[in-house]
């Protein structure tokens, strides 16, 4: 019996969707990011055209590191079920349409954040499992279902375990003025320290002293929840600061020809900058500006507090 005899009018062998899914998953490893082009995109795994498609627009199926491998089965399951005369979609075809239109919407507008793909995760898992279970009802086949499920879970937990392993082996608690250092700590203390960590030295600097001037927050709004010092939200990626007039440019980096107004540090009385080492690595122009105009005050964990040199203000005014 050829492939045609298997596909049309008969149950699909359980291993066929799995085979297709495994083949598709191999593509993900082939197209995994080979190097940073854009820091933020690289962080999200969507730098480069293949990565942007596989990890971004089609992330529901191929962003296996975050979503596991189960979603890969949806495409072959959906195709096989659509070919059958008595598909289990037949009573909810309109919801299937709703699913795919929503998929296109997220794929087009919100593909950069894997969290939005998780919205589809439970329905996809339910559909895939329903397909496997309803096609393999015989007692011996149930063993095969558990074997498949176990394999998928092993893959999912393997990725999870790998991430936990990576996180536990990098820990950078620094001294007040030193550079990031790796500290080897026992696993138990490390987990609690990481769970309860907050940059207390930075918060105490503002809360326990009469400090003049506002703080420029490079994407760290948690500052507001711990300090009463006035601060302004800033996004280095596009040199945008948020103030009473809304969005405006501030530091003349990433120069843009858009119509946003421009403010100066003096306008907002900004004298400090709060950033993180990971943000500094992602935004090279901002890091360069920091190196030229600021003095490092406190570094605690990933969080770094700078003071803007007054000479910068003098240079700017002359």
């Amino acid at each position: 019996m050829g492939l045609r005899g298997i596909v049309i009018g008969r149950s699909i062998p359980w291993w066929m969707p799995g085979l297709v899914a495994m083949a598709l998953s191999a593509l993900w490893f082939i197209f995994y990011s080979t190097g940073p082009i854009d820091s933020v995109a690289s962080y999200r795994g969507i730098d480069g055209t293949p990565q942007k498609w596989f990890n971004g627009h089609l992330g529901l199926f191929f962003k296996i590191d975050m979503l596991g491998a189960v979603h890969l089965f949806l495409l072959p399951v959906f195709i096989w079920e659509s070919l059958k005369k008595k598909s289990f979609f037949k009573n909810s075809v309109h919801l299937v349409w709703g699913f795919w239109i929503s998929f296109i919407l997220v794929s087009a507008l919100a593909y950069f954040n894997y969290r939005y793909w998780i919205t589809f995760s439970l329905p996809v898992v339910a559909i895939v499992f329903k397909y496997l279970y309803e096609n393999l009802r015989s007692k011996s086949d149930k063993v095969l279902i558990w074997a498949i499920a176990l394999l998928l879970c092993v893959q999912g937990f393997n990725i999870f375990a790998k991430r936990i392993y990576n996180k536990l082996n990098t820990n950078s608690i620094t001294s007040e003025t030193g550079l990031p250092q790796k500290v080897d700590k026992p696993v138990g203390a490390s987990i609690l320290a990481r769970l309860t960590f907050k940059p207390n030295l930075v918060f105490d600097f503002f809360n326990k002293n009469q400090v003049e001037g506002a703080v420029l927050l490079n994407g760290l709004p948690m500052f507001y929840t711990h300090c009463r010092q006035k601060a302004f939200m800033y996004f280095a990626e596009r040199d945008i600061v948020y103030s009473s007039i809304g969005k405006s440019h501030l530091l003349d980096i990433n120069t843009s020809s858009d119509a946003l107004p421009r403010l100066s540090l003096q306008d907002l009385n900004i004298q400090y900058v709060l950033s993180s080492s990971s943000h500094n690595q992602m935004f090279k122009d901002f890091k360069k500006w920091i190196d030229e105009n600021c003095v490092l005050l406190i570094q605690e964990g990933d969080i770094i507090l700078y003071r803007i040199e007054h000479s910068h203000e003098t240079r700017k005014s002359t």
């Binding site: 590191d65 975050m66 979503l67 596991g68 189960v70 909810s92 309109h94 919801l95 349409w97 709703g98 239109i101 929503s102 919407l105 997220v106 919100a110 894997y114 969290r115 939005y116 793909w117 998780i118 919205t119 995760s121 439970l122 329905p123 898992v125 339910a126 895939v128 499992f129 329903k130 279970y133 279902i145 558990w146 499920a149 879970c153 999912g156 990725i159 999870f160 991430r163 769970l195 309860t196 960590f197 907050k198 506002a214 760290l220 709004p221 948690m222 500052f223 507001y224 929840t225 711990h226 009463r228 006035k230 601060a231 302004f232 939200m233 948020y242 103030s243 009473s244 809304g246 969005k247």
Partner: protein, 343 residues
């Protein structure tokens, strides 16, 4: 240690009274008809806190003092919750009596343990992530009586804080309600808003399990897709990291569930659809798009014809706007323009 135990007890009490007061409402003549199944009842119970945040939104929109609003809501909810506790306890007990599977006991025990761990983490972990910090700031302003965000102002002069989010204030308002109650006990670390993630993660898994058990009639089969769902790193992160994801996903899947069970709800379907869609919209902007797609698809697929069809879906639309969509309408017309405008 004592602080931790007291904190967990307070969280448990507040959530129990919320669910208990929702369950008491289920005994209402009308609601009894639509909460016949366990899944329906638990979706209603889980949707109630979101409905509460909509009520608080309207009261603040009409410029009632925040302390008065939160105080009255707390009294009503906790009062009815305590009053309804015997009814809720009987419901839980009768549900447990029907459990005859070790798998089910293990699953419920695991969920309970997960909630306790989640409450523990809510108490000890500081506010650190960016998105959570923004929600916490909004909720603190609501607690302090500053409702300028409700009136469309996003910049807070005293701190320089600017809310850049696009979503309706459902999540921070719910957090503000709980944290207002907690502030009476000097727990000022945004504990309740952090606990929302874990509670709705547990509800998502529990309600999904109830649904799968109804479909496959076997606990061990029902628990397998749950296990597959949580085997991915991203899902675990979304259930553990304090964020809006679990309540967002729960509310939109509630909409899908209602549409799937259209025939069962019969004449009340359009009201229920409007209510759950509105509440889903009040939690997150993305839900607005999903709701629009799902309701439109349902409209096209409907067996109704002509004027009757338009009337039914118009009623649904009124509920959607009244119970969540109104925020986006106000933002589009009088506010920042939402997704169309420059923030």
């Amino acid at each position: 240690m004592i602080n931790i135990i007291v904190g967990i007890s307070l969280l448990l009490t507040l959530w129990l009274t919320l669910f208990s007061s929702a369950n008491l409402l289920c005994s209402n003549m009308v609601l009894r008809k639509i909460t016949t199944r366990h899944v329906d009842r638990w979706i209603f119970i889980a949707a109630f806190p979101v409905f509460l945040s909509v009520v608080i939104y309207y009261l603040l929109l009409f410029n009632l003092p925040a302390n008065f609003v939160f105080g009255v809501m707390a009294l009503l909810v906790i009062g009815t919750g305590i009053f309804g506790l015997p009814v809720f306890s009987r419901y839980i007990y009768s549900s447990f009596r029907h459990i005859n599977s070790r798998v089910e006991y293990a699953f419920i025990a695991a969920l309970s343990f997960f909630i306790l761990i989640s409450f523990f983490l809510s108490l000890i972990m500081p506010v650190y992530s960016n998105d959570l910090a923004e929600y916490v700031m909004l909720s603190r302003y609501f607690i302090d009586g500053n409702t300028q965000f409700i009136d469309g102002e996003r910049f807070f002069e005293n701190t320089g804080f600017y809310y850049i989010g696009l979503h309706a204030p459902g999540f921070p308002l719910l957090g503000a309600f709980g944290d207002w109650v907690f502030s009476l006990h000097n727990y000022g670390n945004a504990v309740f808003i952090k606990s929302i993630t874990g509670v709705y993660a547990a509800l998502l898994l529990f309600v999904s399990y109830l649904y799968f058990k109804k479909v496959w009639n076997r606990p061990i089969v029902a628990v397998m897709p749950i296990f597959l769902f949580i085997s991915s790193y991203g899902v675990i992160i979304s259930m553990v990291k304090f964020h809006i994801d679990t309540i967002r996903i729960f509310t939109i899947l509630a909409v899908v569930y209602v549409i799937l069970n259209k025939n069962r709800f019969s004449s009340l379907y359009y009201t229920i659809l409007g209510v759950v869609c509105g509440l889903a919209c009040f939690i997150h902007s993305l839900n607005v798009f999903f709701v629009f797609i799902l309701v439109f698809i349902d409209f096209i697929n409907s067996d109704l014809r002509g004027y009757n069809k338009f009337l039914k879906y118009f009623i649904s639309a009124l509920y959607i706007i009244g119970l969540g969509g109104i925020y986006y309408l106000l933002e589009l017309t009088f506010g920042s323009g939402w997704v169309l405008g420059e923030l």
